[in-house]
């Protein structure tokens, strides 16, 4: 399972990639594997303001539904339209084409409270 070192992670299995104050957010390889085939993703419209830890959407797989939580605070400036017709991108490319929203961060210091790849991996249940 892949956890890119340049990303930060949450205990709820989201990831964040930050560039120029904008956080791109998705779910981890572990999360997509646990969910199984993703069939529907509900995302907020641009313009919505999110607080860190707030639920911003839903992800439905064949077998389960799960809330999506924003790792950071700020304004949603984009969501991934491709997931409307190709929700399976979350499975095939969780860190790439399967991204979910972009948020203009209101507090860059929030990044310090997120997990490194090593710390995130260390929290996962042992493979078995």
């Amino acid at each position: 399972m892949d956890f890119p070192a340049e990303l930060r992670y949450t205990t709820e299995d989201e990831w964040v990639r930050v560039a120029d104050g904008v956080a791109t957010i998705g779910i981890s390889d572990f999360a997509q594997d646990q969910l199984g085939d993703v069939v529907y993703v509900e995302l907020p419209a641009p313009g919505r303001t999110l607080a860190a830890g707030e639920a911003f959407g839903l992800i439905e797989s064949v077998k389960a539904v799960s809330d999506l939580f924003s790792p950071v605070s700020g304004e949603v400036i984009a969501h991934n339209d491709a997931l409307t017709d190709q929700p399976e991108l979350v499975n095939s490319s969780p860190y790439g084409d399967g991204w979910m929203i972009r948020v203009r961060m209101s507090d860059l210091a929030e990044l310090d409270g997120l997990l490194t790849a090593d710390a995130y991996r260390g929290r996962l249940p042992a493979a078995g």
């Binding site: 199984g36 085939d37 069939v39 529907y40 509900e42 439905e60 064949v62 077998k63 539904v65």
Partner: protein, 365 residues
């Protein structure tokens, strides 16, 4: 008897080696999925899949009067079945509720086989023993049960098992010998697709699993089994049917024989139920917008003015074949006609839905 320990399938190691994700179900540790539910579902609809369904209860009855004895505990007049036939039937409670749904197979004049749901395997076996005495034997622990399902299932089995499998017609059953082992074959299933269910001793069962997989059958888990059966609108006991629902409300009146005059458990109550229109009917709903309906979600009246009351989904899923949410619920008769617009509450959103004819999916004949 529940001990808290999950029962393990005899072919467990094969499932783990094939990448199965295991999950508890009805007291068993069962494969939920291997590579993924969508791919497994598609394999059964377009090619062929194989399921280990050894959790199902299996009771043999061997007696010259077995037909009459089984008739006394089941809704369908099984005594009229000819040798080599299979028929779906119900066990009812004395008040006409559905205690379980079962498949009855008549192998020859004196030998029968009944397949029960895992949840009720012990109670059902006791029911059969009470009716048939020592002629009944629970063979669940000494056999495995494999379902090979899909449009290519018969071709695959003709090559793997024996060409004679083709002679077993739809809703029929027979016996073959393979590598020295007896194999029961029923041309039945729980997927809405053509296929068979095989019962045989575990060692030969493992070899049959391997041979089918080598011939191209994709291992499939309970996840795909559930989406497949729901597309075919086949009820799941404990969800769509239960002791609180009766055969007529469930659309299963065709499994109840009353005109032979023979008594069976629940008959008196069913005679009364048969004389009225069921106030609610198990109906099919299809979402008109995105979302995934699931069991327990509420049905909303939508455009229907009033009188819906509290209705919750008995089953719901994303249909991999139709690419839309599908569900079943007991709808009041007034709103159960196909075309009726309702809604399903999905995470705070009322998603429009439409009543559709049963089933959602029917294979090309």
């Amino acid at each position: 008897m529940s001990t808290g320990e999950l029962r393990r399938l005899p072919l467990r190691e094969r499932h783990l080696a094939a990448g199965a994700r295991m999950s508890p179900f009805a007291g068993w540790e069962m494969p939920l999925q291997y590579t993924g539910i969508l791919a497994e579902h598609a394999a059964v609809r377009t090619d062929v899949g194989i399921f280990d369904v050894s959790h199902m209860g299996r009771v043999r009855v061997a007696a010259g009067d077995a037909g009459a004895r089984i008739r006394a505990i089941t809704t369908y007049d099984v005594a009229r079945m000819r040798a080599g036939r299979a028929h779906y039937s119900l066990y009812c409670t004395p008040d006409g509720g559905i205690a379980d749904d079962v498949m009855v197979y008549r192998l020859d004049d004196a030998r029968w086989l009944i397949v029960h749901n895992a949840d009720h395997a012990e109670a059902d076996a006791a029911r059969v023993r009470a009716a048939a005495g020592a002629a009944a034997s629970d063979v669940g622990r000494e056999t495995v049960m494999l379902a090979i399902q899909g449009p290519r299932a018969l071709d695959l089995l003709a090559g793997v098992l024996a060409d004679g499998v083709r002679a077993i017609g739809l809703r029929r059953c027979g016996e073959l010998t393979w590598r020295g082992a007896g194999v029961f074959v029923g041309r039945t299933g729980y997927t809405g697709e053509d296929g068979v269910e095989c019962i045989l001793e575990p060692a030969a069962g493992g070899e049959l699993w391997d041979a089918c997989v080598a011939a191209g059958a994709r291992p499939c888990g309970l996840g795909a089994r559930d989406t497949l059966r729901l597309e075919a609108a086949l009820p799941l006991h404990g969800h769509d049917i239960s002791p609180e629902t009766d055969p007529y409300a469930a659309g299963l009146g065709w499994t109840v024989t009353l005109d032979d005059g023979v008594d069976f458990i629940g008959r008196a109550a069913l005679v009364a139920l048969a004389e009225r229109e069921p106030p609610r009917r198990l109906s099919c709903l299809r979402l008109l917008d995105r979302g995934v309906p699931r069991a327990g979600y509420a049905v909303r009246a939508g455009d229907v003015a009033d009188g819906l009351g509290l209705v919750t989904l008995t089953s719901g899923a994303f249909s991999p074949t139709l690419r839309v949410g599908i569900a079943m619920a007991y709808l009041p008769a007034a709103v159960s006609a196909p075309g009726t617009r309702l809604a399903i509450a999905i995470h705070g959103r009322d998603v429009p839905a439409e009543v559709v004819a049963r089933p959602f999916y029917r294979r090309d004949a």
